[in-house]
Symmetry: C2
Subunit: 334 residues, 2 copies
């Protein structure tokens, strides 16, 4: 009998995640029923949205206390009683924080393998991360070549994709991030035009200097003070795809946005979106992004940690700004 090791949520976080929000458990897996597959989890994807899932109902109900922490992940099929799924197939979806799971096959997505790509790409540029960047920028942001794009959390998993897609679409790209190393990576390796270290610089003045002609698109992962500052410098007709609100996820006190009325004089919009609404169009993005990847035009970086037990600590890097690129926990080899 196969045993799955699991991290269950036993206490809702306040501020950052704490070790005692979770408990380690073991579950002996049962025989597969028809339509089910047994999956070995290879990578867990750590995403800011998990902080919301752990705390409250949102677009998904809050994770129930006493159950396995909800998480995206990538796995490999070990055994299948579902049509269309075979041993060795790659699958992604809500695996949860556990080493193995038995799931109805339709709850997970079979991944078409692209030759020569490492597995972490399927949770990064070719996964939810890439789709989020792709549709948020192109569909919500509707960029036109020559426009100025500002990306917050630019060195993050989504942000770094957005920056590069912005360049590929002919935009002038300004990224904000919190360390010098990330600034360098953005500028030297990803080709971002201007970077702002929000921890070191006055963001208002730095933006004025970096975007003297104003901001056309603000791809925002952060919200809060950053959004409030950018609002003062948007152009007429500006679009603000609101992708995340990291500033609030692990904060007890949320600072209010004071400059919203500028949306009127600038005929501008803030539009929230969820990648799940774009799943039906995933193939179109997958094709273009796989092309960019193979042509070496899209770079990505994974921050990979090992072992299930590290997840509650490692995930906090998303909120303290310590990660560079897609944060993953490796649980097993394929």
């Amino acid at each position: 009998m196969l045993v799955s090791r699991q991290l269950k949520l036993v206490q809702r976080p306040s501020g950052l995640f704490q070790a005692d929000n979770f408990t380690l458990a073991e579950e002996t897996l049962t025989e597969l029923a028809d339509g089910e597959i047994l999956v070995k989890v290879i990578y867990l994807s750590l995403d800011p949205t998990q902080r919301v899932w752990a705390q409250m109902d949102s677009y998904l109900p809050a994770v129930k206390l006493g159950t396995v922490m909800r998480s995206f992940g990538l796995g490999v099929v070990v055994e299948s009683r579902a049509e269309g799924f075979e041993k060795g197939d790659l699958v992604s979806g809500l695996t949860g924080w556990q080493t193995y799971l038995v799931a109805e096959a339709r709850q997970l997505q079979k991944i078409p393998r692209v030759p020569d790509l490492p597995l972490d790409a399927y949770l990064g540029p070719l996964g939810m991360t890439g789709l989020t960047a792709y549709f948020g920028l192109l569909d919500v942001g509707t960029p036109k070549a020559g426009e100025t794009l500002v990306v917050s959390a630019a060195a993050g998993a989504v942000g770094s994709m957005v920056c590069q897609m912005g360049k590929l679409k002919g935009l002038r790209v300004i990224g904000t991030t919190g360390t010098e190393a990330k600034c360098q990576w953005l500028q030297d390796e990803l080709g971002v035009d201007q970077v702002i270290n929000y921890k070191e610089q006055n963001v208002y003045r730095a933006l004025r200097k970096a975007a003297p002609e104003g901001i056309d698109i603000f791809f925002d992962n952060v919200g809060g003070e950053m959004l409030d500052t950018v609002l003062t410098q948007i152009n007429i007709g500006a679009r603000i795809p609101l992708c995340g609100y990291i500033s609030a996820y692990a904060a007890n006190e949320v600072p209010g946005i004071k400059n919203l009325s500028v949306l009127i004089s600038k005929r501008a919009k803030i539009q929230g979106f969820l990648v799940s609404d774009y799943y039906p169009r995933a193939a179109e993005a997958f094709t273009e992004m796989a092309g960019w990847l193979k042509a070496g035009k899209l770079h990505y970086r994974s921050d990979i940690y090992e072992g299930l037990e590290t997840a509650p600590d490692v995930i906090n890097k998303l909120f303290t700004g310590e990660n560079t690129g897609k944060l993953l926990i490796k649980l097993a080899d394929a």
Copy 2:
């Protein structure tokens, strides 16, 4: 020689307008040059946006100190040296707070008269007010019959138009306002489905009760706390046309919006707009609205005061919630 009486802005307001923000002046008008018209102002239109104009640069530069206060108005041509304009023609546009003006004809708009309509209609349902309501609701709000629409400052000039157009388009309409008399007018005469007196009721709970299935469109004239409360009750795909931000115009301290991140989980948008962007499409709105007016399907109310000197005091009714319908100052008969 004709003398125009004028109110000039001499001090920027802080909070509400004060009498000493203005000074009364007289200007002797000169002979017309080619292309100019002499206009007698009949009505001044008092609008919340004037509070912004008096204070700071926005979509228009701030009114210069020592110059006539900027204002929309309706006038009649007294003398013309411009092609296409004749004595007796109605014109509207930025007349300013003055009894007469000499202007280049192209700075004002000639108004096609609809038989049997009183003149105040051209600053209300058939003026900027009506166009604002029409395009804000239909173009930005993209309503679908059966949806739930909430309108703030619902008894105001724009708000009362939006409520009625909402009903004409098959929406369930909820209006917020600040007096019982306005509540009654909205419900009994305009056919609004539910009204909320925000000064008497807990808006959060009243909205829950009035819109148990959530809010699809929020036509917002107010911003601030009202917007923050509505955000907690929007549906997936909600649209928030941001028309005005009255709560901030005469306030020294602007409360921040704390619930903006809900735009993400609800895939919703807040979109500012200015009626001036829709002037090229004015004819399309004019036709439909004139039809509604003639058929008795669109009711409007003007709050008319008399005399130029009353303007600085009367305009504050927009910010204290004392007006019902379109606020006008009558300066002369046609």
